[in-house]
């Protein structure tokens, strides 16, 4: 007779890791909060993270940032800015720069026993800092280029009252990005006005005309083809993944429907697909698939 004791063993395992779990339970859904509390919390977050953050949290933050970067690079639209994640990351970069400076000052003082060995950690820390900085820079630059491209569209959306993301530009973008968006479109408008638009008849002077033969507002190409990796593993409030179904072979997968073609597709966990963005947009925002 075989007695299955897997669940008992799992329970024992849980006890030893309980502490670690608790400290890393800080979830990064701040960018999804609708309404006023999203931004006002930022100040508190900064205070909270001046205290030393735990190791597992730092690592998972880095992984989240990598995922955010990949999604941002490949998605056609501007994704919501991960406010809390970026605050934490920027804070850590700052701390790290200071730490490296202090450490290297210490090395200057007692150079009699500083061998190559003792400089190795410093070398690695610097290399790591450069890698992290590259990631942040590339992420921001990518966002800026999208803000350039969709500036009229973003402005239009922010004037619609009912849209939760676009209604609040400060939820979609960081403070500096909002500033950039406003100033840049202003400068561009001035250039167009002075050079060409003022010579045109009055009814042709608008830069956001959608009535004419071609719409002047550049909207993201919602149906752009993207490559995705289905990662799954998101556990929601029901305790399991409620969107998960099984296909004919009994493998776990998500089912999505392409409306134009009336076609149902099963996305197997762990597989790579080439698919249009509009279909998997929601799954991506929930972290169930990532763009690659």
């Amino acid at each position: 007779m075989n007695i299955d004791i897997d669940d008992i063993l799992a329970e024992l395992d849980r006890d030893t890791t309980a502490v670690e779990r608790e400290s890393s339970s800080y979830d990064d859904v701040g960018n999804k909060t609708v309404g006023g509390n999203g931004v006002s919390q930022l100040g508190d977050v900064e205070k909270q993270y001046s205290v030393q953050s735990s190791k597992s949290e730092r690592i998972s933050d880095f992984q989240k940032l990598v995922t955010q970067w990949r999604n941002e690079r490949m998605s056609p639209e501007l994704l919501p800015y991960p406010h809390e994640l970026m605050t934490r990351t920027l804070h850590r970069i700052q701390e790290r720069v200071e730490l490296i400076e202090t450490l290297s000052m210490g090395y200057l003082e007692d150079d009699r026993e500083s061998t190559v060995d003792s400089k190795l950690p410093l070398l690695c820390m610097e290399a790591e800092l450069e890698r992290l900085k590259f990631l942040v820079r590339s992420f921001i630059r990518c966002r800026l280029s999208k803000i350039d491209k969709y500036s009229i569209y973003l402005r239009q959306q922010s004037e619609l009252p009912e849209n939760p993301y676009y209604g609040r530009l400060d939820l979609l973008m960081s403070e500096e990005e909002v500033k950039y968006h406003m100033k840049h479109s202003e400068i561009l408008l001035k250039l167009f006005n002075n050079s060409i638009l003022k010579h045109l008849p009055e009814e042709l002077q608008a830069v956001n005309d959608t009535e004419g033969s071609i719409s002047m507002v550049d909207e993201p190409n919602w149906h752009k083809t993207v490559f995705i990796l289905v990662c799954g593993g998101v556990i929601d409030e029901t305790g399991t993944d409620s969107k998960l179904t099984t296909d004919e072979d009994g493998k776990p997968c998500y089912s999505v429907i392409i409306e134009d073609l009336n076609e149902e597709i099963y996305l197997l966990i762990g597989a790579v697909y080439v698919i249009r963005y509009s279909v998997i947009k929601d799954l991506m925002n929930e972290g169930r698939v990532i763009l690659i």
């Binding site: 190791k55 290399a127 697909y273 080439v274």
Partner: protein, 201 residues
């Protein structure tokens, strides 16, 4: 614009390498960083503390005891002559032969090489060619063979591009990135044509 044109359609090969350098690999350290209790109290400055990856492994290195670190760190240590990299088990002549055999036998499928095989093998060949047990030039030619067989299959697979979707199995990140601009462009155009024909009918 703030992002160069060539980076807007996909990742550059260097960025793919960057992503893959964040994955773990096993090394044989040639230095000891594990401290006895007494040492720990005297010098705290030369402790490693890393932001993006687990630093317990590098703080507990003992000479010739294998441990797992991220690839970029392993390459850095290797450059300084402080470690030997343990070559992953799929990167041996025997294993590669098996993969190649599979590739040749199944003309419609890709073998399940790890998803970083192309980048990792190139990196390891150039940066730690002395750590391989098998002769590197033979491994290199095997990798080249694999690459060519797979490229042929990718080209053949392009005829199945359609307006709805495509499932790819066992393609590596680098191979995906290479076919991305072409495949996305074609599928976008096919979709536009399809949509337009639906609108008029």
């Amino acid at each position: 614009m703030s992002l160069p044109k060539n980076l807007q359609v996909g990742f550059s090969p260097q960025e793919i390498q960057f992503l893959i350098e964040n994955e773990p690999i096993r090394i044989m350290p040639r230095i000891t960083t594990r401290k006895t209790k007494k040492q720990q109290s005297t010098d705290l400055g030369s402790q490693w503390s890393l932001l993006t990856c687990d630093d317990t492994a590098v703080n507990n290195m003992v000479v010739m005891n294998s441990c797992e670190v991220t690839i970029w760190l392993a390459l850095l240590l290797k450059q300084q002559g402080k470690c030997n990299i343990i070559v992953p088990s799929w990167l041996t002549l025997q294993q590669l032969d098996k993969y190649l055999e599979y590739e040749l036998k199944n003309t419609s499928r890709f073998s399940n090489l790890p998803w970083n095989w192309l980048v990792l093998s190139t990196l390891l060949f150039s940066r730690c060619s002395d750590d391989f047990k098998d002769p590197v030039h033979l491994l290199r030619s095997k990798i080249q063979d694999l690459r060519e067989v797979r490229l042929g299959k990718v080209n053949k697979g392009l005829q199945y591009l359609n307006e709805s979707h495509l499932q790819l199995e066992n393609l590596s990140l680098m191979e995906i990135n290479e076919m991305r601009p072409y495949a996305c462009g074609i599928m976008d155009k096919l979709r536009t044509i399809h949509d337009a024909s639906n609108d008029t009918s």
